[in-house]
């Protein structure tokens, strides 16, 4: 279930580019751990997910070290059981070291216009989360929104702080 909280905006300053602040608790996080850094591994995993019509979002690949890397992404919780089967098989096929799953996550987002031209917006978002002790597990941004994945245990605190900061 996605909950979106609309925040009133001002006409001046940095606030005018942010239209709303939202939270989404419908996604689960998956991380393929210790993936060999060779061509074709991402194709293997995401082709398998595509064959099962499992949509993915927020794909993040870490920096490679020692010939291995991690690949993280989100799926809808309602497809988690299917995704577990697919990811585990892919992990075996590509000789990854393992796969971890996390259902206790939430996405918090600030949405607006031309966010990439306003560098103070991500700075303010991350500072706000840090000020209330919220650790960010994943970040993705584009011109229309900045989204952070945080732990469910921090989610209510995170969204309250963002509402206050961007209202």
């Amino acid at each position: 279930m996605k909950e979106v909280v609309i925040v009133e905006t001002n006409a001046t300053g940095t606030k005018n580019v942010v239209d709303d602040v939202g939270i989404d608790r419908a996604a689960a996080r998956i991380v393929l751990l210790g993936v060999p850094d060779v061509p074709g591994v991402a194709a293997n995993v995401f082709s398998a997910l595509a064959e099962h019509r499992i949509g993915v979002e927020m794909i993040v690949q870490n920096n490679m070290r020692g010939g291995m890397t991690d690949i993280g992404f989100l799926v809808k919780k309602e497809r988690l059981d299917d995704a577990i089967v697919v990811c585990r098989k892919s992990a075996t096929d590509i000789e990854a070291q393992g796969v971890s799953f996390n259902t206790e996550v939430a996405r918090v987002s600030v949405c607006g216009k031309n966010l990439t031209e306003n560098p103070e917006i991500p700075a303010k978002m991350f500072s706000t989360l840090a000020s209330v002790g919220v650790n960010i597990e994943m970040i993705v941004s584009n011109t229309l929104d900045i989204t952070c994945v945080v732990s469910e245990t921090d989610a209510d605190r995170a969204i309250r702080a963002l509402q206050e900061a961007f209202s």
Binding site: G34, G66, D81, R88, G98, T103, E104
Partner: protein, 318 residues
């Protein structure tokens, strides 16, 4: 990038399985990888830790790294000169969570000593040395051999039996909270004496667990994984520990649930879709203010695996 001189892939383990305190353990499909990237002069060691523990000085300092210490100890026991080496540890098994992370280092270190010295020690000798270093057999034996094992150790010698692997449709859900339980603290929490009735309870459950596993009667695991010797005491060491197992025991598909090793990880054996059991375990940790994640694993039947380049490549570098 050149292939490492030696690469060892070592599985996680869940020990103290149910009623089998210090005796029953199983290998799981989650792996740490230890690579020797170059040989160095005798006495010179370096460690690069990637993943779990990369900030831990006990791991990044070669003098205290458990794989290096185990390598040196095995060389000492066998009376062989230890060659210096550069080690790369790719760790994905969470530290101090009851999934046998330190045992992977012990197994890797002893196996490295065997491979680099050309000793060709038999399996029983490797396991004896691994157990001597670890202090108990129920992690290192399944870690090296794979599968589920029962093992007994008398401080000098070891006897063990490897059981058939879990069937493919049986998942092992491991819910890992973001809190640490040190093995020594977990040992301290145990009583010096237990009531006779509790000892009898565990004898029956441990025997049932082994018999059920050996004969594939998986529906009996729910009884076989009950315990009164360690779980009631250790469940108090982490948030949610005293309620979490009861929350999932009766969920569809859940055949048995236990604290993994010394905790705080909880393992549940689940037939069929694991999502409900896994999310219930993690939601319980969240209710107690603890973040967590989970793995859906299978039994690792093959245990530790290694690859090694040809002897001509083994030249020391300064």
């Amino acid at each position: 990038m050149n292939a490492p001189l030696v690469s060892i892939r070592v599985p996680a383990t869940s020990a103290n399985l149910g009623a089998g305190f210090d005796s029953l353990g199983m290998a799981l499909s989650l792996y740490n990888v230890f690579n020797v990237t170059k040989l160095q002069p005798n006495g010179l060691f370096s460690c690069d830790v990637i993943g779990e523990g990369f900030r831990e000085r006990d791991l990044t300092n070669a003098r205290s790294n458990m794989a290096v210490r185990s390598y040196l100890r095995a060389c000492e026991i066998w009376g062989v000169a230890p060659r210096g080496l550069a080690l790369e540890c790719h760790n994905v098994i969470p530290l101090c969570r009851g999934l046998g992370s330190s045992s992977t280092a012990v197994v890797a270190g002893v196996l490295l000593a065997n491979l680099l010295s050309g000793r060709h020690a038999p399996e029983s000798e490797l396991l004896r040395v691994m157990t001597m270093i670890e202090g108990h057999p129920d992690n290192v034996v399944p870690c090296y051999l794979g599968g589920m094992t029962v093992s007994c150790w008398n401080e000098v010698d070891l006897r063990y039996v490897k059981f058939p692997p879990l069937p493919e449709d049986l998942n092992v859900v491991a819910a890992v909270p973001d809190v640490r339980v040190r093995t020594r603290d977990a040992r301290k929490s145990l009583p010096h004496e237990v009531p006779f009735g509790d000892a009898v309870f565990n004898l029956g459950r441990a025997a049932l667990l082994c018999a059920a596993w050996a004969t594939g009667q998986w529906d009996l695991l729910s009884w076989g994984m009950e315990d009164r010797l360690h779980q009631p005491y250790r469940s108090r060491l982490f948030p949610g520990g005293e309620v979490i197992m009861d929350r999932v025991r009766t969920l569809p598909g859940c055949l048995g649930v236990a604290i993994s090793g010394s905790g705080p990880t909880i393992v549940a054996l689940v037939r069929g879709a694991p999502g409900l059991v896994a999310s219930t375990l993690c939601r319980t940790f969240s209710e107690y203010g603890v973040t967590s994640r989970f793995f859906v694993l299978q039994g690792c039947a093959g245990g530790c695996r290694f690859s090694m380049r040809s002897p001509g490549d083994f030249q020391e570098e300064n």
